[in-house]
């Protein structure tokens, strides 16, 4: 593997055996997960933490189909990933052979590109192209399906030469004309707002973003994917916008006269009602993917290019601004409508997150599952550096966080890693506890246990008259579960136990599962009901 | 009658006679869950991962012969179903899957939890629908059940956008449905049936090769009758197991890759191969030119595309296996074939299925003991790997449909949720799960579902600390270069049971197991038995890759 791959996450099987046999001699670290979904999410987490493409490997049939959710997840969140699957021998293709699945057909809608290799001489070129496509432009997953007779074939390795893909040429630099228009609009604006997404993190543009914000004294709101792309403790930081954004971020969107969207995609969870998003604002949209521009929301000044490159081109065209009434108004909103919760004696999930922040000094890598805890993790932990918040944004995959944390810990062996989980999500890929223990990865899992599929319950409470259909959970004993896997387990029921338990978890060099018995019917607030404009918040 | 589409969906399911739905809620499917809650007539089994829901519904269908029904949300909920759908597709299992989808206005915009599940599942469903017109929902559901359960059964998926689910319609459920592109043929062609019957009477060395179609078509009675009239030995595919009594003298066991030598020899030497509801899969035929080289082939199958797909067929008959066999039986007369049966008897004696009995707990012995203690009267769900083949070889199934296992896709992780589904479908039967330490972990979260539903499953983990089947392949084809197959760490399954509030035992030898089994099998609740089996055991015999099925080796 000439691509500088040092780690592969995978699970062997018949059709992929020749590749596993080659791995036996290769200088590549292989992490054996306990379900292929775990391998895909771990590779995804590894990629998000390290910035390098994540690689996962699985066999044909169920091995390949088990990757599907992980591939879709990486696709929605633009994560560079190369998935390699074994396939039945070429002669058996199309005959419903044992463990045959048409994985290139299946993954057509959820990969940036995919290949089935039918000639051994194409293999080297295909691999090189796959890594190129996965990691350049708007990153994404690429799948290579390799029939067993191809991977078992002999081949004199030849350098496949430079990549030539006439249909794939991402635009990196912006045109001067668009930059000048943008600069003029920015300098003319009185109430500018920067709305930053995951593209900032992907392109490594966090320094440029900070420069831009400080130069313009422009407040910055981020998407879930953009958390960590702008320092969470910066005075210009507004937190997250959208359905579960801060009130002040959403008010700022509604009253801004200029929105600079940087590597973000106006997702429905962010924009609320598309045609009422930032009603009074000129919108500048910088994105590597031209198809994102104008997809959901009208854009006045589109700029296609790599966010970091574009910001570097744009900055010299701008001049420093001074604070005005706009910044005062923002400060007023922040004072008036802080993100907060009520203490009532029981263990509050928000407090758990805040304590994790305190105990780790804000330096942990946080992954999350999907649900209420994910939103609390977004609100109550302060992310100060990119790639420190790793979460399933677009697909919203329950079960992502734990295997992702394993991938993150493999990429960052010396850092503290926390998976913030719910009692529903953590069960989805609980088998990966074996992987964590197997490889001695000291991942910490904080289960915010309310005995419910909490987010769904919250919707049922708010929109379905509290008819809790199939959302109450009968859970295993998570402490004993951890112990059965040879990991450490702790239960926390009171505020006073929080800090000592967390300190012990961080010290322990085994995987640790913390079972926090939290307030059962706590809601994530504020909330914009689905389909409503951003200023129609409840809570 | 006016109602919301979501309510109409639930009403349609009630009218289809659906009693159980396996599922997991989420944002986009909430309207349907709300309607389900309000109706209260259908039981819902809340799983812990959507993969568990499909496998459970799949096994429910296998165990009861009814259509399995699954509900999941959009995005990851839908993609988590993919493996289970592919599994049901490969094994021809009738399923109807209802997935939530984002609102129609957001379809195609990469919105939150949006995924093109109809596109994704095109290759692995019998048919699928994205319903955009609220008025069409009832007829689409009718079609879905019709397509899933008739002809060659299979999974049908219906993707229901959230806004469509919340529309109000005037509800009327169509009594029948006609689809101009879908008309399965049930009765075989008369002249072909006569031709086949003629060959059967003429043949000297016939073998019946019966697959899963026998079970799907409920033709096990006809199979027994035909075998006895013709004095023809019967071999089953893996999917066909339990379709013929395991202790019958005409039974040859399974054929193919890990089949018995006598079944493979019989097929190699037969002059007539009667293929019933089977599909000449690569694991069955081995080298295709070496398969039944001396035989004329009669192939009865409901799916015309299976006939002539992999091997040349002399008498093709498209139709429902049961109907065709009934027509054939009317033409057949009792025939004595003592020479052929004597030859078979000799092969059985010469090449019995066997294993070395000394040294540690042998996995084959665990299966034999299970069979003995239950007298073969249990529903056995398995996972995929060595243990699956040992069940196939050493458990003598007595009743149709009592083996529940993933054949075509070979899905590790199928077993536990399948056992859940089977037990829900057959609450009064003894349901045993035989699994491996690798497979069991894949869907282990469903233990919570089993506990939740108070299912008295008996779970036996054949724990050899490795991915045994892949390890076996590496032993033979990779010079014992074991890569990623020996687990350096396996959780303590007995303690894991404890975390779910279930008794767990670990056994290390046969005597312990013999002592424990009566108690375990008669206990009213769920039990997990962790069997520490000899890790060096291989599945034997085995037909090496690229060889004919008569060239099996012992290993």
């Amino acid at each position: 593997m000439e691509q500088g791959v040092d780690t592969i996450f995978g699970y062997p099987g018949g059709a992929v055996l020749p590749i596993y046999d080659a791995l036996y001699d290769a200088n590549i670290n292989h992490v054996l997960t306990r379900h292929e979904q775990g391998a895909a999410h771990a590779a995804d987490g590894y990629a998000r933490a390290s910035g390098k493409p994540g690689v996962c490997l699985a066999t044909s049939g169920p091995g390949a189909t088990n990757l599907v959710t992980g591939i879709a997840n990486a696709y929605m969140d633009s994560v560079p990933m190369v998935a390699i699957t074994g396939q039945v021998p070429s002669a058996l293709l199309g005959r419903d052979s044992f463990q045959e699945a048409d994985i290139t057909g299946i993954t057509l809608p959820i990969t940036k590109h995919n290949y089935i290799v039918k000639d051994v001489r194409d293999l080297a070129r295909t691999v090189r192209e796959a890594f190129h496509i996965a990691s350049t432009g708007r990153p994404g997953p690429v799948l290579i399906d390799i029939p067993r007779d191809i991977s078992g074939g002999q081949l004199e390795y030849e350098d496949p030469g430079p990549i030539n893909l006439p249909g794939y040429r991402p635009v990196v630099e912006a045109t001067g004309e668009q930059l000048n228009k943008a600069a003029a609009a920015i300098m003319a604006s009185e109430r500018p707002l920067i709305y930053a997404g995951g593209g900032v993190v992907n392109s490594g543009a966090h320094m440029e973003l900070k420069q831009l914000a400080e130069l313009l004294v422009a407040p910055v709101t981020v998407t879930l994917m953009g958390l960590g792309g702008f320092p969470g403790d910066h005075p210009l930081f507004l937190g997250m916008l959208g359905m579960h954004g801060s009130k002040y971020a959403n008010y700022a969107v509604c009253e801004a006269d200029l929105v600079i969207a940087v590597g973000a995609r106006f997702d429905d969870r962010v924009a609320g009602k598309f045609d009422e998003f930032a009603p009074g604002a000129t919108i500048i949209h910088i994105d590597i993917d031209p198809a994102e521009i104008g997809k959901n929301v009208r854009v006045n000044i589109p700029i296609v290019g790599d966010v970091k490159v574009v910001l570097r081109q744009l900055l010299p065209r701008l001049e420093a601004k001074i604070p005005t009434a706009w910044q005062e108004k923002i400060e007023y909103w922040k004072r008036e409508y802080p993100i907060s919760y009520q203490e009532n004696g029981s263990l509050k999930p928000q407090r758990v997150i805040r304590e994790i922040y305190n105990v780790t000094g804000g330096q942990a890598r946080i992954t999350t599952e999907v649900g209420q805890h994910q939103m609390w993790a977004a609100h109550y932990y302060t992310y100060t550096r990119p790639r420190s918040f790793i979460s399933s944004g677009g697909l919203g995959t329950m079960g992502y966080g734990f295997p992702a944390a394993i991938g993150v810990q493999v990429a960052c062996p010396d850092e503290v890693v926390f998976d913030i989980a719910g009692d529903g999500s953590i069960q989805m890929n609980i088998q990966e506890m074996t992987t964590a223990v197997n490889y001695g990865l000291p991942v910490n899992v904080a289960v915010l246990n309310n005995g419910f599929l909490g987010m769904v319950r919250q919707w049922q409470e708010l929109f379905y008259n509290r008819r809790y259909s199939q959302t109450e959970l009968n859970n295993p004993d998570f402490v004993k579960l951890a112990e059965a896997y040879g990991a450490a387990g702790m239960r926390v029921t009171k505020g006073a136990e929080l800090r000592p338990a967390l300190e012990e978890a961080v010290r322990d060099n085994r995987p640790v599962m913390l079972d926090f018995i939290i307030e059962r019917e706590e809601n994530v607030l504020p909330m914009v009901p689905p389909g409503q404009p951003l200023d129609k918040m409840i809570g | 009658m006016e109602m919301t589409v979501a309510q109409a969906v639930i009403r349609c399911l009630e009218l289809e006679g659906v009693e159980v739905i396996f599922g997991y809620p989420g944002g986009a499917i909430l309207p349907a869950y709300d309607a389900l809650c309000r109706s209260g007539n259908i039981k819902h089994v809340l799983v812990r991962h959507e993969q568990g829901a499909v496998h459970a519904a799949d096994a429910y269908a296998r165990a009861t012969g009814r259509v399995g029904v699954v509900m999941a949300t959009s995005g990851p909920g839908a993609t988590n179903l993919v493996t289970g759908i592919a599994n049901a597709y490969m094994d021809s299992i009738p399923l109807v899957l209802i997935t939530g989808q984002v609102s129609t206005g957001q379809v195609g915009t990469d919105s939150f939890q949006e995924v093109d599940i109809t596109g994704i599942t095109m290759p692995i469903t019998k048919h699928n629908y994205l319903v955009k017109d609220p008025k069409k929902v009832p007829s689409v559901i009718k079609s879905a059940f019709h397509i899933a359960s008739t002809g060659r059964p299979g999974p049908v998926l219906l993707d229901l956008p959230r806004d469509v689910a919340m529309e109000t319609i005037d509800f009327e459920y169509p009594r029948t449905i006609k689809l101009r592109g879908y008309k399965p043929n049930y009765s075989g062609h008369r002249t072909k049936v006569l031709e086949a019957a003629g060959l059967m009477m003429k043949a000297e060395r016939p073998v019946i090769y019966a697959g899963g179609g026998i079970l799907n078509a409920r033709a096990t009675g006809e199979l027994l009758e035909m075998a006895e009239i013709l004095s023809a030995p019967v071999t089953n595919t893996f999917m066909g197991l339990s379709g013929f009594p395991g202790d019958h003298p005409l039974f040859l066991g399974m054929l193919g890759l890990h089949g018995t030598r006598y079944a493979n020899l019989a097929v190699t030497h037969c002059d007539l191969l009667i293929a019933l509801g089977a599909r000449f899969d690569d694991r069955v035929t081995g080298k295709i030119t070496g398969f039944a080289p001396r035989a004329e082939v009669i192939h009865v199958d409901i799916d015309p595309a299976e006939i002539g797909k992999n091997v040349r067929v002399h008498v093709p008959i498209v139709g429902d296996v049961r109907q065709v066999m009934k027509a054939m039986l009317a033409q057949l007369k009792k025939k004595d074939r003592s020479r052929w049966l004597e030859q078979i008897r000799q092969w059985k004696e010469q090449y019995p299925l066997t294993y070395a009995r000394e040294g540690g707990l042998k996995p084959q012995a665990v299966i034999e003991k299970l069979c003995r203690h239950t007298r073969g009267d249990a529903v056995v769900a398995t996972d995929v790997g060595q243990h699956q083949m040992w069940v196939a070889q050493f458990f003598r199934f007595r009743q149709p449909g009592t083996l529940i296992s993933s054949g075509g896709l070979g899905t590790m992780g199928f077993g536990l949720p399948a056992a859940v589904g089977a037990q829900i479908g057959l609450p009064d039967r003894l349901v045993i799960l035989v699994t491996g330490d690798g497979s069991f972990q894949m869907t282990v979260q469903e233990l919570a579902t089993a506990v939740d539903q108070k299912l008295p499953l008996k779970i036996f983990v054949l724990n050899n600390g490795s991915l045994g089947m892949v390890r076996q392949l590496q032993e033979f084809y990779c010079d014992r270069r074991y890569m990623a197959t020996n687990f350096s760490f396996v959780p303590d399954f007995a303690r894991l049971a404890g975390a779910y509030g279930v008794p767990g035992y670990t056994v290390e030898n046969g005597e312990e197991l013999d002592r424990l089994l009566p108690e375990v099998l008669s206990s009213p609740g769920m039990v997990i038995v962790n069997c520490m089996v000899d890790p060096s055991e291989n599945v034997s015999p085995m037909v090496p890759s690229g060889c004919g099925i008569d060239e099996a080796i012992d290993c």
């Binding site: 293709l93 199309g94 048409d102 | 109809t118 596109g119 095109m122 689809l179 101009r180 592109g181 002539g308």
Partner: protein, 170 residues
């Protein structure tokens, strides 16, 4: 051997993807596939040209039949049928040589549909052999751009591949 299939399908979104996906998944080789609306709005007609022996053809037909949206398949290869293809060819051509190109076009009863300063675009319809011969004849002039529709076909005389209304549509 090449076979021409006349296929009637439901006019549903995604039906083309279902057919194309089937061919790719099963490893069948499509020479060409043309699709459009048929004589009634709820039905589309596809003309598919496939390469393969009788065994392959049999599988193609049977597998296509398994698609619920496929209503009817006719292998019209052995029958009498009319088939047509349309090609647009843009040739680079100085005004001085226009006459030559026009003459070639005339021979094939092709029509000039666009004239540029340095290009001529011609349209030609006919069966596959004619269209191919036309393409070859223009090749020496330098073909800048070429697009073919793929073959469409219809049985001759009083024979139909249409829906049998009584049988298929009740």
């Amino acid at each position: 051997m090449r076979h021409t299939l006349a296929v009637l399908v439901e006019n549903n979104p995604g039906v083309l993807a279902r057919v194309a996906g089937l061919f790719s998944r099963r490893g069948f080789n499509i020479d060409s596939l043309a699709v459009g609306r048929a004589e009634r709005p709820d039905v589309s007609r596809m003309t598919i040209v496939v390469e393969g022996d009788d065994r392959v053809l049999e599988q193609v037909t049977k597998q296509l039949h398994k698609l619920v949206d496929v209503i009817k398949i006719n292998d019209i290869t052995p029958e009498e049928y009319v088939d047509r293809e349309l090609v647009l060819i843009k040739v680079s051509c100085d005004p001085a040589r226009r006459g030559e190109v026009m003459q070639v076009a005339d021979v094939f009863r092709a029509r000039i549909v666009d004239l540029g300063r340095k290009t001529v675009t011609v349209e030609c319809t006919g069966n596959e052999a004619k269209v191919s011969a036309f393409e070859e004849s223009l090749r020496p002039y330098g073909i800048k751009e070429l697009v073919r529709t793929g073959k469409i076909a219809m049985l001759r005389g009083n024979r139909f591949t249409a829906l049998d209304d009584k049988k298929d549509d009740d």
